[in-house]
């Protein structure tokens, strides 16, 4: 095993080249966030004039490389081993660390999945480098450094890393994948990795798969109705469910709402929740803190209902209504019901529509 090294002076640092994306797979399926990171990674690699490399670990997953090429990778590093079949932090970290020591990438991007959030910071500590969590954008500065962009209180911060590789994570949906181009060509490098069962001190004894909650997946929703602290109570939050039911939309909320137990954490939108990109996002009683808006500002149409005309949500809302939500929502729902009764090209609510928990 290569010993832990620190990056020395500028000369050493300059020998780090290429943008790497860790393409996480689960049960032989690529996770979407890896393809999304290839999208932004392509832009960064082009700016740097360097290669975009996808790193794929697993067992019997060779054919996934094709997708990674179509979504933008110039090169695939593929490591297969039966002990890489199911994710374990230590084994995955050891393999990735060896690859980084060998190839010295300048940038390493990883998805902020639950596994990614265990793996990435541990790998950073192994590599003695820095890491920024949950970036919402990336750029390259004039000196070729990675700018890691994320909210910081009410503002946005550009964060840099003095060491290499410059590591960062991003949540699913933070970036768009490219249109796949199945004619693209790329090299696939097969890495023989030595992995022993003793490397992982944590042993998985049992896996209990749980089904999705009745609330529905906000990351995949086409329409979202989100409520904030302005709803005032868990009982009042029923209004959000009612509107969502009417629209066939998925329910979401702010961190304040999740902290108060009005919604489960799975429905939180924002920096520390989910990133969403629906066609329609209706924000009710939400002030529009930067930590919230980074998670929903890429929605196609944003509707905001808030009684405070100065609420920052109105700066990003496509349509804003200033007023008391308890007055507006009933009128809005009545009006929608009327529209639906007239039956103009309305689709039937889908079977999988989340049911109202009330």
């Amino acid at each position: 095993m290569v010993s832990k090294t620190e990056i020395g002076g500028a000369e050493e640092s300059a020998s780090y080249k290429g943008v790497w994306v860790f393409a996480e797979q689960k049960d032989g399926n690529l996770r979407g966030v890896g393809l999304e990171l290839l999208g932004v990674g392509r832009r960064l690699a082009d700016r740097l004039g360097e290669e975009l490399v996808a790193v794929l670990l697993g067992c019997g997953i060779e054919e996934l490389a094709k997708d990674l090429v179509a979504y933008g990778a110039d090169k695939i590093i593929l490591a297969e081993h039966e002990l890489l079949g199911r994710y374990t932090t230590e084994t995955y970290m050891n393999v990735l660390a060896e690859l980084v020591y060998k190839y010295k990438p300048s940038v390493l991007l990883m998805g902020g999945t639950l596994n990614g959030r265990e793996l990435a910071p541990r790998l950073a500590a192994r590599l003695s480098t820095g890491i920024t969590a949950d970036c919402t954008d990336f750029d390259i500065d004039k000196d070729g450094h990675l700018l890691q962009i994320k909210p910081f209180s009410k503002l946005m911060a550009k964060i840099k890393c003095r060491t290499k590789p410059q590591m960062a994570t991003a949540k699913p949906n933070a970036f768009k994948r490219l249109k796949p181009d199945w004619s693209r060509k790329a090299t696939v490098i097969r890495e023989e990795v030595k992995v022993s069962p003793n490397e992982t001190r944590t042993r998985v004894i049992e896996v209990v798969k749980t089904t999705n909650s009745i609330y529905g997946n906000v990351e995949e929703a086409d329409a979202i109705v989100a409520g904030g602290r302005g709803l005032g109570s868990k009982e009042n939050f029923k209004l959000i469910h009612d509107l969502a039911d009417l629209l066939g939309a998925t329910v979401a909320g702010t961190r304040s709402v999740v902290d108060r137990g009005w919604l489960p954490a799975s429905q939180q939108v924002g920096q520390s929740g989910k990133m969403v990109t629906p066609r329609l996002y209706i924000a009710v009683g939400i002030s529009g803190a930067t930590y919230h808006t980074v998670g929903m500002q890429k929605s196609e149409v944003i509707v905001a209902i808030n009684k405070d005309v100065k609420a920052p949500i109105f700066q990003i809302a496509t349509y804003g209504i200033v007023g008391d939500l308890f007055e507006i929502l009933p009128i809005f729902m009545d009006r929608l019901k009327k529209e639906y009764q007239e039956g103009v090209d309305i689709e039937q609510p889908s079977e999988q529509k989340p049911s109202n928990p009330y």
């Binding site: 932090t89 950073a124 550009k158 944590t202 149409v301 349509y319």
Partner: protein
């Protein structure tokens, strides 16, 4: 560190805790690009409260000792007192200007220097701290100590004979039951426990307990790895989040406003959007 197979002293438990602002939207110092924490009411990070509670419960079940450690300004003593009031045995605060401005890696190195001097079987970190929400510290620390980690733990038991933990943890597709030999680092979730509220008397008594304050020179280790200087990452620039161009802001009669909104949504063919399959 060489460890006896069966310890008669129960478990040595370390809980890493952090004091955080009680309000979410803290102002930023325009010169240093760091958060202005002075004058802002502070609390013990809620995820760490769960960590302290779990440490105490493990001690109640298996015997041993719970030490809480924090790195921060002296005012962070309040967080330590809170943990002592809940029932922690020992409180340590690493406090020195040298430690200020640390990112997660530099913080991990600072805590590492202290923890390396101690005995430990289980280290508990909060899932994340609510002021920065990275959740990096636990995995950093586990790697620097070269011990296994189990993040997002929902339930934890210890096999004292075999010296291992058996834990239920959140995974992307459900719950995993995992085991790892001691010493191990775990991080919390909110289904781990329901933290106790100290009584007034416990709160008062906690103020009388001695808290160990450790400065940089007392801590030792590689000072170049601490604080702002030891942090590989730094905030380079701040900017205003880009605004989108609002198309209409409707004020006045709610009925009229709703009518205009619904028409606009219908024109965009957007109100009949249903959830994706």
């Amino acid at each position: 560190m060489e460890r006896k197979k069966v310890s008669s002293q129960g478990l040595k438990i370390i809980v890493c805790i952090k004091q955080v602002p009680a309000v979410p939207d803290v102002r930023i110092d325009p010169v240093t690009n760091t958060l202005i924490r002075e004058g802002v009411p502070s609390i013990l990070n809620p995820w760490d409260v769960i960590g302290v509670e779990e440490g105490i419960r493990l001690r109640e079940r298996y015997g041993g000792e719970v030490t809480v450690i924090t790195m921060g300004p002296l005012q962070a003593k309040e967080a330590v007192i809170g943990a002592l009031a809940m029932g922690a045995d020992r409180g340590i605060i690493l406090s020195d200007l040298t430690f200020a401005g640390a990112d997660t890696i530099a913080t991990a190195h600072t805590l590492l220097a202290q923890i390396k001097k101690m005995w430990y079987d289980i280290i508990i970190c909060g899932k994340l701290s609510i002021d920065s929400e990275t959740g990096h510290l636990g995995p950093h620390l586990a790697e620097l100590l070269d011990i296994p980690q189990i993040c997002y733990v929902k339930k934890v038991d210890v096999d004292m004979i075999e010296r291992k933990v058996i834990a239920q943890k959140e995974a992307d597709d459900g719950i995993e039951v995992v085991e790892a030999p001691l010493p191990v680092l775990i991080t919390t979730t909110n289904s781990l426990n329901e933290p106790r509220l100290p009584t007034l008397r416990e709160a008062v008594n906690a103020r009388r307990k001695k808290i160990e304050v450790v400065t940089a020179s007392e801590l030792g280790g590689d000072l170049s790895k601490y604080g702002l200087k030891g942090s590989p990452t730094f905030v380079d620039k701040l900017f205003r989040p880009p605004a989108r161009r609002p198309e209409m802001l409707l004020q006045g009669d709610p009925k009229e406003a709703v009518e205009i909104l619904v028409q606009a949504l219908l024109n965009r063919n957007i109100v009949n959007v249903r959830s994706r399959e």
